[in-house]
């Protein structure tokens, strides 16, 4: 106690004297509001622009000067999600008379094309979802258990182990992709969902253990001990008492893990081909034939962004507290 108190020198704080200077608070508040609005606009414009482009007809997306007002169209999305073939003159006339065409077919027809199937992007999005969700669930599950053990039990060599776990994260992805590629090809994990899930899980785990240990350390042990004395087993106490209180940390870890798995590019590019290929390596390849289809690219980016937004907002309630309290304070 002595050492602690001697270093806690109370700084002299003059900031409160500012109120004597008497700036008119109305003006100050207005200025603050204007600056805030400007900052928000500055950061949101690219996102809004992307959203607008996704709904522009192909030719409106490349006009100079850019159009701010336009007739919304789903051309970009249709082109993103389908495979089409060019129709010749005779077929065109025939198609124009058909009445059984749905809205997507109509849009394709305007480009003189016929939809002949799903594009690869759909299956890549589904791959991304399967791999990201599974690896996130697995890494958070294992990490909570590991973090609880590290936080509560006496483990020989605890500090070394924790460092070892973190060291998993130290090598940049590009350095290890080639060896992993060789190993995966040998054991048949190349271009498989399982391979990608294992890889992402082990990558996320190190970071997740550290993050969650910080959160669990902050939960007083008295909570569990009270439950132990009240007639519950360690595992029941963990499930009923620790887990609900660790929700903030779990939410934050979930979001971070999901974002990593969802966005990962280098491994996905090297270790998948088509069966298990995820969306990130594919998005740059959306560039269509005959000119850049900006609407299609924007639509692809939008489709890719939505799951992250959903996951983040689903955890919003926990996250706000988690990120500001646990993560930052515990570092």
């Amino acid at each position: 106690m002595a050492a602690q108190s001697s270093s806690s020198f109370t700084p002299v704080n003059y900031s409160t004297r500012v109120d004597k200077v008497g700036t008119r608070p109305m003006v100050a508040n207005l200025m603050r509001a204007i600056i805030a609005v400007m900052l928000v606009c500055l950061t949101l414009i690219p996102v809004v622009w992307m959203g607008m482009t996704a709904f522009k007809p192909l030719k409106d997306a490349i006009t100079v000067p850019p159009k701010v007002f336009f007739t919304p169209s789903l051309e970009g999305f249709v082109n993103l999600l389908t495979q089409r073939r060019q129709l010749n003159g005779a077929e065109l006339d025939q198609f124009r008379q058909r009445t059984d065409l749905n809205w997507a077919d109509q849009i394709a027809l305007q480009q003189q094309q016929q939809i002949i199937g799903q594009s690869q992007f759909v299956s890549q999005l589904i791959n991304s979802l399967i791999i990201a969700v599974t690896s996130t669930v697995l890494s958070v599950l294992f990490a909570v258990l590991a973090a609880y053990a590290f936080s509560r039990f006496h483990i020989p060599g605890k500090d070394d182990l924790l460092f070892f776990i973190l060291s998993q994260r130290m090598l940049p992805a590009v350095v290890v992709t080639v060896p992993i590629f060789l190993m995966y090809r040998q054991v048949g994990l190349y271009d498989t969902h399982l391979g990608m899930i294992l890889l992402y899980t082990s990558f996320n785990l190190s970071f997740a253990v550290w993050l969650l240990k910080g959160f669990i350390d902050e939960i007083p042990t008295e909570y569990e001990e009270a439950a132990l004395v009240d007639g519950y087993t360690r595992l029941q106490a963990f499930r009923k008492i620790v887990l609900p209180q660790a929700m903030t940390g779990i939410a934050a870890t979930t979001v971070f893990s999901f974002i990593f798995s969802w966005n990962e590019f280098a491994f996905a590019l090297m270790l998948t081909q088509d069966k298990a290929r995820t969306a990130p390596p594919q998005i740059p390849l959306i560039l269509g034939s005959g000119g850049v289809e900006w609407s299609t690219i924007a639509a692809g980016s939008m489709a890719f962004l939505i799951p992250v937004v959903i996951v983040t907002f689903a955890q919003w309630r926990h996250l706000l507290r988690g990120v500001t309290f646990g993560a930052i304070r515990k570092g």
Binding site: A2, A3, S5, S6, S7, F9, T10, K20
Partner: protein
């Protein structure tokens, strides 16, 4: 040494008052204690006197000179913090010398002065040590030495004993008080501990909810609290406060008890109570006299030894417990009947609506 005057000093944070307009004169050489629960405005008041906090309105005068907008360093005050605020990278000697170096005093004079205060506080043996290694008591002595060394116009102390263990607190309390008697420096001392306030203060300023409830000598605050808050807050336990109805010289108390009001108070109650005749009877635990023929009837709820005396907790009804101080050999079984009377000169009465003490003619205020 300075006289400190606060004139209609107030502090607002946004729309809420930290301190409502307050008038207070602290005489030169006086030891004033600002006492109250956390959030009552006592620390804010102290910080306004020091200049660490700006007043929202009102004036602060040192010896008649307006210092309201002076920088803290220009007010010639010394501030002692709860957490000592010692510089851990400097030796004790340099910590004490620090304020003098700031004044540009010569080396010889500094040495002489540091030796003087070190002797006064009996910390010569730790002068070369770093503050981190010292006990809590010694750290606070060093902090006091650093305050004393400058001979400031006033000492401002913010819960200086709050961080000490109970065993040091009692003796440090006496040391600080004795130091004040020898130095006679104007001192403003903030605490939430009513025992500390009683033991140390020449006068106590009891605050609650940003308002001064009473400013008076310890004895007066204890014996004649101005309202229910002060009656409850001062004393351990606080004053017994029991509501009843007054009629014809007696008050009906819980548990079918009747209390005969001392004759000197009857006219006061008759003129000052509202038409519903409700009144709160207040008496300290030592005003209770256990007496087999006493008019008030109770059962023993709990009895406990406090070392030199015993405290009886007597139940009038399930919601009313009276604390009574008694000789240490008084022992009762649980739920045993105990009858008692009240010492007539130690009974006080309060108005249940205004919560203010009723005053007899000739009483102060």
């Amino acid at each position: 040494m300075a006289t400190i005057e606060l004139k209609q000093v107030e502090k607002k944070f946004g729309d809420s008052f930290a301190v409502k307009p307050l008038d207070l004169t602290i005489n030169s050489g006086e030891f004033i204690v600002l006492l109250g629960p956390s959030g009552c405005g006592k620390t804010t008041t102290l910080r306004m006197i020091s200049g660490l906090e700006a007043v929202t309105s009102g004036n602060i005068l040192f010896d008649g000179k307006d210092v309201t907008w002076l920088h803290p360093s220009a007010r010639d005050i010394a501030f002692v913090f709860q957490f000592f605020a010692l510089y851990s990278h400097l030796s004790v000697r340099d910590n004490i010398a620090f304020p003098l170096q700031a004044q540009g005093m010569s080396r010889e004079d500094i040495k002489k002065r540091v030796a003087e205060v070190a002797d006064m506080l009996k910390i010569e043996h730790v002068l070369n040590a770093r503050p981190g290694g010292l006990s809590g008591g010694d750290q606070q002595r060093v902090a006091l030495a650093r305050a004393l060394v400058r001979k400031p116009a006033a000492f401002l102390m913010d819960e200086p004993l709050g961080a000490l263990d109970a065993e040091f607190r009692e003796s440090m309390r006496a040391e600080i008080k004795r130091l004040h008697i020898d130095q006679h420096a104007t001192t403003v001392y903030v605490t939430h501990d009513q025992i500390e306030a009683m033991a140390m203060g020449d006068r106590i300023v009891v605050m609650s909810n940003a308002v001064v409830q009473q400013a008076d000598t310890p004895t007066e605050v204890y014996n004649n609290p101005s309202n229910l808050f002060v009656a409850r807050f001062i004393g351990s336990p606080g004053m017994n406060l029991i509501e009843g109805h007054y009629a014809d010289g007696t008050i009906n108390l819980p548990g079918d008890n009747r209390y005969s009001v001392p004759s000197g108070w009857r006219s006061v109650l008759e003129t000052q109570l509202a038409s519903d005749r409700r009144v709160i009877v207040g008496f300290r635990p030592e005003a209770v006299q256990v007496d087999g023929t006493g008019e008030i009837n109770s059962t023993n709820y709990a009895t406990d030894l406090h070392g030199g005396y015993t405290m009886l907790h007597l139940q009038l009804d399930p919601d009313t417990i009276v604390h009574a101080r008694a000789g240490r050999d008084m022992r009762y079984q649980l739920s045993e009947t105990v009858r008692f009377t009240l010492k007539p000169d130690m009974v006080r009465f309060f108005h249940p609506e205004t919560e203010m003490a009723l005053k007899q003619n000739g009483m102060k205020n």
